[in-house]
Amino acid sequence: MAFDPTDVALTIVKIALVLAITLSITPVMVWVERRGSALIQDRPGPNRVGPLGLLQSLADALKFILKEDFVPAQAHRWLYTLAPTFGLLPAVTTVAVIPFGRPFVIPELTLFGRTWFEGGRLFEPIIADVEIGILLIFALASLAVYGLAMAGWASNNKFSLFGAIRASAQMISYELALALAAIGVLMSAGSLRLTDVVWRQTGNFVLFGVEWLKIPAWNVFPMVIGFIVFIVAAFAETNRLPFDFAEAEAELVAGYHTEYSSMKFAMFFMAEYMAMGTISALTVTLFFGGWDIPWWSEPATFAGFLLSALAFLVKVSLLLFVFVWVRWTLPRLKYDYLMRIGWKVFLPMAFVNILIVAILIAMGWI
């Protein structure tokens, strides 16, 4: 592969952009979570630091940095220190294969006495458009469990260990349902590439042959069962209520991160919110048309890119709010119930979804 400086520069710009947005998910979501929970529980919530308490996250971050970084005496020092990094890495890296806007042509540009982007250049708003796209996400996400397992074991605390064991069992079980629910989408796209998945969803379904009765060709409409399984499995994979058995503060103190403090704890905290962001972005890409704006075909210009990227962000934000909404609405399930519905309800539902999609494709309806 030829080395192209412009290409490298564009990739670096994309990485910086995506990383900045991913990293800012945590402070924003902390604020949304705290204000959202207050809204749902009919109380004011944090409102002292900055207008509407907007700077609360900053205060929290400062607090984390200033706290003592404590390592328990009987802990396994190496694994204890490495665990937060293991937890954070998959959350940061998986966004690389998610397309975040409509590709557009950068026009030729003369600046500082040099011609840039000769003859126009296609800008693909995705860091790595690899052929295995979604498999890469599943591969990296399947490594996230090691962060939790290492943390729980290395802390040398029975509550941490219980949290870690529960988390591993839960994540293995629901990984299966998550991947199987996504298969319908991949079948209709005929590709593992997420850009193909999004392109497949641009345009409209015309209902009953009536020209003005059209809905966006998003996968959520024909594959509603798959979507339900996927979103429930997503809650389980990110250890959010009603499936937060890895923490379960009423039973396990704080689960796998009981012994963690200071920035190490903050890293677990960040990993949780970033994993939520990633899985929301993936759900939007798979089921809600990614950057597609309904009933409008985006032009291949910078404006089209900006609007589509905005649409993508709006969809992801709405889904993230659903995460908060569900957390403060539903109580925690029982652990055996979680395992039972995982294997006996959601797994068969995922298979039914594959069957339905196969029939729809065979009939030529999608």
Binding site: H76, W78, L79, V130, E131, I132, L135, L136, F138, A139, L140, S142, L143, V145, Y146, A149, M150, G152, W153, A154, L161, A164, I165, S168, A169, M171, I172, E175, L192
Partner: protein
């Protein structure tokens, strides 16, 4: 150039962590070292233009099988092995045989790599090619493996089922003992 740097970095990581698996006394550290080693192997697949294989390597070995291993190790709560047994002869033989085997392997791989020309046929390993091969040329072995796995699942269910039945019976017994 870039590929060579990546190759040697991950080759060293893979071998070093594979050695950790064998030499480290703590089973949890061993299991996690194996995960790192598997991950480095996946990078090798990417360098060989087989990203699909790389993804499967990470999903199946690092993501599924090793999680189960780690799970079992944590459940059994294996602590440090007791101090090394004093068996100098066996120890010497182990190290000697291991390193002799490794050196022989390196010698023949280098020899073959230098003399044997690379295959001219393009190496295809994308999802489509593998899927078609698996469901056309290798359909019989594929189906046999699924039957084997099914048998394993049924066996595992049978082993766990026994206790549940007994608990049901106990509940039935309790029902009968209830004073009326």
């Amino acid at each position: 150039m870039f590929e060579i740097v990546v190759f040697f970095f991950f080759a060293v990581v893979a071998v070093a962590f594979a050695l950790m698996v064998v030499l480290h006394r703590n089973p949890v550290v061993g299991a996690i070292s194996l995960v790192v080693s598997f991950f480095s192997l996946a990078v090798m697949y990417v360098l060989l233009d087989a990203p699909f294989m790389a993804a499967l390597q990470v999903i199946i070995y690092a993501g599924a099988i090793m999680v189960l291993f780690l799970f079992v190790i944590m459940l059994l709560n294996l602590q440090h092995e007791p101090e090394p047994l004093n068996r100098p002869i066996q120890r010497f033989l182990g190290y000697f045989a291991g390193s002799a085997f490794g050196l022989t392997l390196v010698y023949y791989v280098v020899k073959a790599g230098v003399t044997v020309p690379r295959a001219e046929v393009p190496f295809l390993s994308d999802a489509h090619t593998i899927g078609v091969r698996m469901f056309e040329a290798y359909i019989f072995p594929f189906e046999m493996v699924s039957i084997l796995l099914l048998a394993a699942i049924v066996g595992a269910l049978m082993l766990t089922q026994r206790e549940v039945v007994r608990r049901d019976e106990r509940l039935a017994d309790l029902e009968q003992e209830k004073p009326r």
